[in-house]
Subunit: 228 residues, 2 copies
């Protein structure tokens, strides 16, 4: 068994990203280098490399000679992200329909049946639907075979989506409906109908966005920003 070679900077980068996504490091919080280095048991050199990467994925913002802060999530930015996802994942679905292998397609279908089973088991109040949703989208994105598209969607953008899900508790409250839409998309992909798959995926993400908007407006004033 080969132990994957890596660096302290890599490991600490992953850990900090995780902490930011889960909210263990709060929005807008200042990142103190000596403190962070001490916490993770490394020196400031590799830590700063890690921070450079985290900055590049736009989870923190840095001001020269001042320091780094975790970004603040906002309602507006969430909508921006969904606009982009609609566009890019639509593309991914079209490409997936054209290029996914038979094996990949049948695995996708299997994934859906397991989701269906899970929803029945949990009577619809499926917490895991959230991760299942990620799974489904993740597979389609990879099925597109477009490396750069995969990097963009499965990389930085999904980290952000996960961050919002964690910190705004955005798990789906309509698992049956989402599953039905997934099923339609899967069928289109199985039939190699790229155009339809794209259209369905866009509508699916648009529905999800509208759903989120409604729920956020319901919370009279969403718990966003305003941490001075």
């Amino acid at each position: 068994m080969e132990v994957e070679a890596t660096t302290l900077a890599n490991k600490v980068c992953d850990r900090i990203v995780k902490d930011i996504i889960t909210g263990d490091i709060a929005q807008g919080q200042k990142l103190n280098e000596p403190e962070l280095a001490r916490i993770h048991g490394i020196s400031r050199g590799p830590l700063r490399e890690a921070m450079s990467r985290i900055e590049a994925m736009r989870l923190i913002t840095r001001v020269p000679n001042v320091g780094a802060r975790v970004v603040k999530l906002s309602y507006g930015e969430l909508l921006e992200i969904y606009q982009i996802r609609e566009s890019l994942e639509g593309l991914a679905a079209r490409l997936a329909a054209q290029t996914m292998s038979v094996e990949e397609k049948s695995e996708l279908r299997l994934l859906l049946t397991s989701h269906h089973k899970h929803i029945l088991d949990t009577q619809g109040r499926s917490y895991f639907q959230q991760e299942g949703d990620v799974d489904f989208h993740y597979r389609i994105v990879h099925g597109s075979k477009n490396k750069r598209l995969i990097d963009m969607l499965a990389g930085d953008l999904y980290q952000l989506v996960r961050m919002y899900r964690y910190q705004f508790s955005l798990s789906s409250n309509r698992p049956e409906q989402a599953l039905k839409e997934h099923d339609q998309i899967c069928s289109a992909i199985e039939e190699g109908d790229g155009e339809l798959a794209e259209w369905l995926m866009k509508r699916h993400i648009n529905n999800a966005r509208n759903n989120i908007m409604l729920r956020m407006q319901a919370q009279s004033d969403p718990q966003i920003g305003e941490t001075p």
Copy 2:
């Protein structure tokens, strides 16, 4: 006049990115840290921070304990990039049509007339059309007001596009046609017709892609990769 505060890592990052884009640092070339540090007159600390960021924008790839190499451009990846641009810039055009201010729209129109003049002056063999094209797209992207979209398109992705343009000499050989398409897009934006603007932009980028494909196939075997 305020001198923008910055760090050595930032400055050197920009310089190295530029060198990679122009080809002064060749595709696939190994980056030697002590040598690079000496060239730019800094120590390895800030240099490595710069490299972390350049890695994040996927202009170099790094292997732990081995080193960093400049990525290799490929025909396939160029097509991937154009697929993504078609999707995202289509979105940008739609948003721009909906949100650009009157001033922005008239500036966009002014830009086009100056391009038109320039093409007439240079009898169509417009070298600068290339940069003008970038300008036009750049403005629309910014007109979308979607910050993340702007970051994605005007940031890493355009660096890549510029790299291909430099190293494959991909300046447009159809400036009049491109200008006409720009004009159509501009009109749609002026009228606030987002759907049409999106459709036109997608076709425009698709045309550009087809044009590039033809020219690359013309070069019996494109001067791509194969630098061992």
